[in-house]
């Protein structure tokens, strides 16, 4: 493990910096987007306002906040890999939970969208729920499975990294 870290130190450092920058940019985006989007007229329609508000919330939570937290956790993990003195940050300590929450949100989001679309428009874009779920939810389930796998791997990796740090 140590040999791998030594070999890839520069790469890991750059990766950690870029990941942190993008993570923080996403969090800033999560604040800017709800301000800018209504101003640009996207959610100006008063007819389906609740649906637009839901879409905006979904976009901000799923597309910005949660992914930013995952990214900042990843940056902490990489930093924990190559910095001898660095202790796991708050996000990394709860990394598994963050990844599970993201996985749940990925699966729940298409169901909620379906519900809101049906409520607002009476039609969700496809003929029935099965077709909708196959078309929309299947890739999300796939992504959720990837994040669940990552959570399991992270849980196993943390003690391994800790172990290699204590080796002389």
């Amino acid at each position: 493990m140590n040999e791998f870290i030594e070999k890839n130190m520069t790469l890991l450092r750059y990766y950690s910096i870029i990941t942190r920058i993008i993570g923080w940019m996403l969090l800033i985006g999560a604040i800017v987007v709800p301000i800018v989007q209504p101003l640009s007229g996207l959610s100006a329609s008063s007819e389906h306002r609740s649906f637009w508000i839901y879409l905006l919330c979904e976009q901000v939570i799923l597309g910005y906040v949660l992914i930013a937290i995952v990214l900042l956790g990843l940056a902490q993990f990489v930093r924990y890999l190559y910095e001898g003195e660095y202790r796991p940050g708050l996000i990394l300590r709860h990394g598994g939970k963050v990844l599970y929450i993201y996985a749940i949100a990925l699966i729940a989001s298409p169901f909620l969208t379906f519900y809101f679309r049906m409520r607002e428009y009476g039609y969700a874009g496809t003929a029935n729920l099965f077709e909708y779920l196959l078309g929309v939810n299947l890739p999300d389930i796939a992504k959720a499975l990837i994040f669940i796998g990552m959570a399991r791997v992270l849980k196993r990796m943390m003690p391994m990294v800790e172990e290699t740090k204590t080796l002389v």
Binding site: T19, L42, L71, I148, G149
Partner: protein, 171 residues
């Protein structure tokens, strides 16, 4: 490592099974979508918009179904490789890091291509993605974030495979 695998064997087995099912389903759905669309005359349109719709369909299928399906099948192979001592590395897992790099690259390239196709070739403008700044903020930033996650996964995978191999040879 071995102790962890023994403790989580049933969980890993169930996870592997579900991952394989969803992975194959994604590939099948992609194939079915192409067949159904071609039978319904979707690819017959010969105007700019028709080409754009065809391009969007293949882009969607490649990114959301085929590449994701491959990533998932690779993940299933990795998990199986973890708990089955006799199991040898599958084709996707042997090239796992490349698949993940490809997926990460596609995640970033895809919105850029889409933007240029819509704005430059079709001359479309949308209120919410019309300006480049908003486009970068709304579409490209989350896509870059996802790509970075998959890049990290590729690096971790490259390191993990020899570690698992090592733990298998330990008595």
């Amino acid at each position: 490592m071995n102790e962890f695998i023994e403790k989580n064997k049933s969980l890993l087995r169930s996870y592997c099974l579900i991952t394989r099912i969803i992975g194959w389903l994604l590939l099948i759905v992609a194939l079915v979508a192409v067949v159904v669309r071609s039978l319904s005359g979707f690819f017959d349109a010969d105007d700019q918009l028709g080409f754009y719709m065809t391009y969007r369909l293949f882009q969607d299928l490649a990114l959301r179904y085929v590449l994701l399906g491959l990533v998932l099948l690779g993940l299933a192979q990795f998990v199986r490789y973890l708990y089955e001592s006799e199991y040898q590395l599958g084709l996707i897992l042997r090239h796992g890091d490349k698949v993940l790099y490809l997926y990460a690259l596609a995640l970033v390239v895809n919105p850029v291509l889409d933007y240029f196709y819509r704005m430059k070739i079709l001359g479309m403008t949308y209120t919410n993605t019309g300006s480049l700044f908003l486009y970068l903020l709304i579409i490209l930033l989350p896509a870059t974030a996802r790509a970075l996650i998959f890049l990290g996964m590729a690096r971790i995978l490259k390191r993990m495979v020899p570690v698992v191999e090592e733990s298998k040879t330990l008595v």
